[in-house]
């Protein structure tokens, strides 16, 4: 990777671009199952536009980021470090972790918060090949009746939801598409 690609690909106009990106992230977290477009950055492969934009919107020197599996490359590390200053961390210490579901590994290694501070938990950004409003049925806060979302691993996510109010929260990214699954959502595999 040359310096040119490392230094490019960030927000063109950070305050405005990040405001739109956050609004998309907030909307999907408040309404599990909803898919929104999110863009504004050109991250190095294999990071998706949605995941890269989300990282630049939420991460800074105060957040530890875990790059899982194939994302842990020089190019991604340098790009993320240049644009956010976020320290790279191992899974068990991460505030944000990004990677494919396989690469992220078992959920039990991530922080789930403490009973007195359930907010001190990891947010996982899961890179997906496919993201659709189909599959597992979701109910709970933010959902009027039932929502549907293609989830990578229903039993593991059900186990995470069972930890409520502790647990991890998830964003799912696919190209420039973004969805979310907070720990408060109840998941029914039947659909």
């Amino acid at each position: 990777m040359n310096a040119q690609t490392q230094f490019s690909g960030g927000f063109k106009n950070a305050p405005i671009d990040a405001a739109y990106a956050f609004r998309a992230a907030m909307t999907v977290m408040a309404r599990p199952g909803v898919i929104r477009l999110i863009s504004g950055t050109q991250p190095p492969a294999p990071l998706s536009v949605a995941a890269g934009t989300l990282l630049l919107t939420l991460c800074d020197p105060d957040t530890r980021v875990h790059l899982a599996g194939g994302l842990n490359t020089d190019a991604v590390r340098q790009w993320l470090t240049f644009h956010t200053g976020a320290p790279i961390a191992v899974a068990s210490e991460a505030d944000f972790a990004v990677g494919t579901w396989q690469a992220l590994g078992t959920l039990t290694q991530y922080r789930i918060g403490t009973p007195e501070y359930p907010d001190r938990s990891a947010t996982l950004i899961v890179e997906c090949d496919d993201l659709q409003q189909a599959g597992a049925a979701l109910t709970g806060p933010g959902i009027k009746d039932t929502a549907h979302l293609s989830l990578p691993d229903v039993p593991a996510l059900q186990a995470n939801a069972a930890l409520y109010p502790l647990g991890c929260d998830f964003f799912f990214t696919c190209d420039d598409r973004l969805a979310a699954l907070p720990r408060s959502t109840l998941i029914n595999a039947e659909g």
Binding site: P118, T123, P141
Partner: protein, 286 residues
């Protein structure tokens, strides 16, 4: 370089607030600590709400600010001007046209939609604070879901006054888990807390952010034999005749004359524009 950053706050502060908002949405009703900043207005004037709004606004938004339901009070006017100057967003007094509504102590009468965000200014976010002053203890009580003390307080209301006399900041349980202070809205507004819009709560001095996602179950605490009641003054509005809106009582003179008017000024104005009339609308004295 003589302009403010978009919506006043620097980007790192906004990221910190945005992370808190996301965790707040993921755990509805739980108070997320955040590093509240000094704002160019005193604590108690909505610094928490202003910071949440600043982290939420985009240039496409239309902002409405109300103070006790009114668009034209000092607090509402100053905050509206603040964001006109620092974010360049459109502002409005019409509830239907707003995408972000910052409020002090009321929920608008008009039903809010999926496309709207309601931001509350919160003075004391901890519902248990007047029962237990120590933060370490209230935090433990929330973690253990130990809310008996709150029921004791409501019971003492009944034993002293014959009814639950708590009339504002009426405690609610969110999504069956956390007891939350809905900010000092009148309990008349409590049933509206289950709504289509996203609700965000910001407490600047107390450094807490919390949230209620759309369609989240919000139950006002009560007893089987003393169920929750959403009360209001038993009058129609004297200007627009509305019988279903929350009313302010206004003293008219030294002789004890008084009038009741909608606290939601936009609701009252739009009803009068439609031709609705109240007891005093013809006298020309208002």
């Amino acid at each position: 370089m003589n302009e403010y950053n978009f919506a006043y706050l620097d980007e790192q502060t906004k990221r910190m607030i945005r992370r808190a908002i996301l965790k707040g949405l993921a755990v509805p009703g739980y108070q997320v600590p955040f590093a509240s900043r000094e704002m160019p207005m005193p604590y108690g004037w909505g610094t928490g709400g202003v910071q949440v709004s600043a982290a939420t606004l985009t240039p496409d938004d239309t902002l409405k600010v109300i103070d006790q339901g009114a668009d034209d009070t000092t607090n509402a006017v100053s905050i509206r001007k603040f964001f006109e100057n620092t974010a360049g967003v459109e502002t409005t007094e019409e509830t239907e046209n707003a995408t972000v509504i910052q409020t002090r102590h009321r929920i608008p009468e008009a039903k809010l939609t999926e496309d709207q965000i309601l931001v509350y200014q919160v003075p004391i976010p901890e519902p248990l604070r007047f029962l237990e002053p120590r933060e370490t203890e209230t935090r433990k009580m929330h973690s253990l879901e130990e809310y008996g003390l709150m029921h004791v307080k409501l019971y003492e209301d009944i034993s002293q006054h014959g009814a639950i006399s708590t009339s504002y900041a009426y405690p609610v349980k969110v999504s069956g888990r956390y007891v939350m202070d809905p900010s000092p809205i009148p309990k008349f507004d409590n049933p509206k807390l289950e709504m289509d819009a996203i609700q965000l709560f910001g407490a600047g001095r107390e450094q807490r952010i919390y949230a209620v996602p759309p369609h989240t179950q919000v139950v006002s605490l009560d007893f089987e034999d003393y169920p929750f009641e959403a009360t209001k003054a038993d009058h129609p509005c004297d200007l627009c005749g509305a019988e279903d809106s929350y009313l302010d009582e206004v003293i008219m003179d030294d002789a004890g004359n008084r009038m009741f008017v909608c606290s939601d000024t936009d609701f009252c104005r739009s009803r009068r524009a439609q031709g609705h009339e109240g007891r005093l609308s013809k006298e020309g004295a208002i």
